[in-house]
């Protein structure tokens, strides 16, 4: 059985603890009972829009430090955030270049760390090292847990819920070399939603960006919000009860931006929260009170009132 290490990143623990609760519940003994542990020394991944954009050396060092932690525990990193996914995956690709690896390890030696990767196979006496595996929560759900198991564990099918899936750009295109879903025709989150008994609706420009990435939200929030507004309008036109995403930063953008152009807004949640509800967790214990857009409308719909 694959062993994982939780990597929650910065946004989830500090802004949306409900997601952390949901992920721990879904992966834990009440849920799919995966072998996941916490590694407390994980830091920020670091944020691609800030550090990858301003200095690749610093970005690579901090990412490599996180990778060594998982490497020493021989665990795969289970990310719950598209940003963490792209940052750490890109770092493993960068570290495949021996020059980069040498430079990084020279600095890391000062804090007693070394990135070597994990052994993948042995050729004669030689061990062949591969990169530390970085996995997205959705990827683990589809490929390790399996859709059948997800369907089996659905206690309260959300049969009257119409969910609008937002994948998020860095889930679709984490790096140039690797993808976890078809960037032009992704299906994984839709499939999970269907196995939870709900309907994943089609809407126009489903694969469009939320507008927040690359520092745009931090830099020119109006610009980011206007892109989100377009997307929310299309989602509303399609008659969605909620927006479901695999990325807490997209979630944060949908959640915050909606304040700027509407009073009500469409509830936004992480796929893990959606799953937790379908698996029988009380929606009131999923930390929705930290969300800016109220989920009341969604909960009313759940109860069929």
């Amino acid at each position: 059985m694959t062993q994982y290490a939780y990597f929650f990143g910065c946004v989830i623990p500090n802004r949306y603890p409900g997601i952390e609760y949901a992920v721990r519940w879904v992966c834990g003994s009440d849920g799919f009972n995966l072998d996941v542990e916490d590694i407390e020394e994980f830091s920020c991944c670091p944020v691609p829009g800030i550090f990858y954009s301003s200095d690749k050396r610093t970005w690579l060092l901090i990412a490599a430090r996180n990778l060594t932690l998982a490497q020493n525990e021989r665990r795969e990193i289970l990310t719950v955030c598209n940003g963490c996914l792209t940052s750490l995956l890109k770092a493993t690709e960068n570290l495949a270049d021996p020059k980069n690896l040498g430079r990084v390890n020279r600095v890391l030696s000062q804090i007693g760390r070394k990135y070597i990767g994990i052994p993948t196979k042995t050729e004669g006496r030689r061990r062949v090292m591969g990169p530390v595996k970085v996995r997205h929560y959705v990827d683990v759900m589809i490929n390790d847990v399996g859709l059948e198991t997800i369907a089996e564990r659905t206690r309260k099918p959300l049969s009257n819920v119409r969910a609008a899936v937002h994948y998020g750009c860095h889930y679709l295109r984490p790096t140039e070399k690797q993808t976890i879903d078809d960037p032009n025709d992704p299906v994984n989150i839709d499939l999970i939603i269907e196995k939870c008994g709900a309907t994943s609706i089609e809407y126009e420009d489903k694969l469009d960006c939320c507008g927040a990435g690359g520092g745009v939200r931090s830099h020119v929030v109006e610009l980011a919000n206007s892109i989100t507004e377009d997307k929310c309008r299309k989602i509303a036109d399609a008659g969605a009860d909620c927006i479901v995403t695999g990325c807490p930063f997209c979630l944060l953008q949908f959640d915050n931006a909606q304040k700027s152009f509407t009073k009500e807004g469409i509830p936004v949640m992480h796929i893990s929260q959606f799953q937790a509800i379908a698996m029988g967790v009380d929606p009131n214990s999923l930390g929705f009170d930290t969300h800016h857009v109220s989920v009341h409308s969604f909960i009313r719909k759940l109860r069929g009132t």
Binding site: C10, V11, P13, N14, R15, P17, G18, E20, Y21, R24, D38, E40, E41, F42, S43, C44, P46, V47, P48, G49, I50, F51, Y52, S53, S54, D55, K56, R57, T58, L61, I62, R65, V107, Q110, I111, C169, H170, R173, E176, P183, N184, D208, C209, G211, A212, G213, G214, G215, V216, S218, H219, V220, L223, A224, S226, I227, S285, G287, D289, T290
Partner: protein
């Protein structure tokens, strides 16, 4: 006259309207090579088809045309790329369909690196970097959220535990090792 220029050259080029003629003093020789050095692909292979602009979420909203930025890069018109480089959402859709197989988003990131070196540092970079060296995380902890965490029976944030001080020390060392603190002007925040 201004209106005419706006219509015919496009708003993006308002700067062009100021300098009617771009003479050689505007051109930065070897700009394309410099971009490659900063991790971008070779912009000289761009066909200027405009596909990147058409798929760009930002280009739909403001006077920012991905293709134009690449064109400026081809020409070596560094100064025209200065302000535009921070609005890329790094969604990589431009990369997805680029027939020349350039990665315009990575070009934007290379341009950001150059801007940082020239001291053009947007405040949010400093803010996030300060959080990182202080808490080991880019998002500042929030007491209200900490209360919710306790309600949800979640453990305290690792950054609130005593052992985490070591992590912050390590991060500070890494940040100092590349001179990142001096690069973006947060020396005073860095400890150790």
């Amino acid at each position: 006259m201004g209106e005419v220029e706006k219509t015919f050259i496009g708003g993006l080029h308002e700067k062009l309207a100021e300098d009617k003629i771009i003479d050689e003093s505007h051109l930065e020789p070897n700009f394309a090579k410099e971009i490659v050095k900063h991790g971008g692909k070779d912009v000289m292979t761009c066909l200027q088809c405009g596909n990147c602009t058409g798929v760009c979420p930002i280009s739909l909203k403001i006077d920012y045309k991905t293709r134009s930025i690449i064109k400026f890069c081809q020409f070596g018109l560094k100064k025209f790329t200065l302000e535009m480089r921070w609005v890329c959402a790094t969604c990589y859709r431009c990369y997805e369909y680029c027939p020349a197989d350039i990665n315009p988003a990575e070009v934007m990131i290379a341009l950001r690196h150059m801007a940082i070196k020239e001291g053009v540092i947007p405040p949010f970079i400093k803010l996030a970097a300060t959080n990182l060296v202080e808490y080991g995380q880019s998002v500042k902890p929030d007491s209200e959220i900490e209360r919710v965490r306790r309600e949800l029976d979640l453990e305290d944030m690792p950054s609130r535990t005593r052992g985490y001080a070591k992590v912050v020390r390590e991060i500070n060392l890494l940040v100092r090792s590349t001179g990142y603190d001096r690069l973006i002007g947060i020396e005073s925040e860095v400890r150790g």
